[in-house]
């Protein structure tokens, strides 16, 4: 057996490039929103059931937990949407070089961070 084969599988020494992190977060945010849609559908049903239902939703949205969950959903939405737009821009052939992809991944993180902050300001 050759001795020179690469055997470095120590995950502590392997780190994801930023583009890979952007990709996995896109998946995670998508799964979060899929589950969250169940909550949102309940909110829609209750808020449209009548004035009492609407007031119930308003009262619920006054609690910290509900605001926090809503902020989380908006953050996942902001991230998923911004990275989705990046995806489509790259599909059209723009920014496909490694340095450009890293730069756009960085941009999407910053942009969605800003949007997440604004969503927090809006919710609270």
């Amino acid at each position: 057996m050759k001795k020179q084969r690469p055997v470095n599988l120590d995950l502590q020494t392997v780190s994801f490039p930023l583009t890979a992190i952007a990709s996995i977060l896109h998946r995670i945010s998508g799964v979060i929103m899929f589950v969250a849609t169940g909550i949102l559908m309940w909110f829609l049903a209750e808020s449209l059931s009548g004035p009492v239902g609407f007031a119930n939703v308003q009262e619920l949205m006054g609690s910290f937990l509900a605001k926090f969950i809503f902020w989380g959903i908006l953050t996942a939405l902001a991230y998923h949407l911004v990275v989705g737009v990046r995806h489509i821009v790259m599909d059209m052939g723009y920014g496909e070089e490694l340095d450009q992809a890293t730069a756009s991944a960085k941009f999407t993180m910053i942009a969605s961070g800003v949007l997440s902050f604004l969503a927090g300001v809006w919710v609270w």
């Binding site: 998946r27 799964v31 899929f34 849609t37 169940g38 559908m41 449209l48 609407f54 949407l81």
Partner: protein
């Protein structure tokens, strides 16, 4: 050409187009709703009148159908990457697609009653 029976489109290219078209519609709906919240005094009457509008009802149903298509393909992509046992993946995808279908049905029933 590789075909997979568990995803939505007839081929990878078909999936590629469906997930993007559906995604654009989902984005437009989210931006529209955000715009409504930011430019209106949202109370029961304005909220109810928004969803009583036929155009909004159609937009909402199309968006829920887009969500069904988008998550069908997206969840298939995620599950085929991370869940290797076929039986478990089958059950998970069935459950997730059933949930997505439920969102569509719930949307229809909710809007029917507005």
């Amino acid at each position: 050409m590789v075909n997979n029976a568990a995803t939505l489109g007839r081929s990878g290219v078909h999936d590629f187009i469906i997930i993007r078209v559906a995604g654009i519609n989902l984005a437009l709906y989210a931006i529209f709703l955000l715009g409504f919240f930011l430019t209106n005094d949202v109370n029961y009457l304005s909220w109810k009148s928004l969803f009583s509008n036929l155009g909004m009802q159609v937009f909402t149903i199309i968006t829920l159908l887009s969500l069904l298509a988008h998550v069908w393909i997206g969840m298939w992509q995620v599950l085929t990457d991370y869940v290797k046992p076929v039986g478990l993946r089958f059950i998970l995808q069935l459950a997730l697609n059933a949930a997505a279908f439920s969102y569509v049905i719930a949307g229809l029933v909710i809007l029917w009653r507005v």
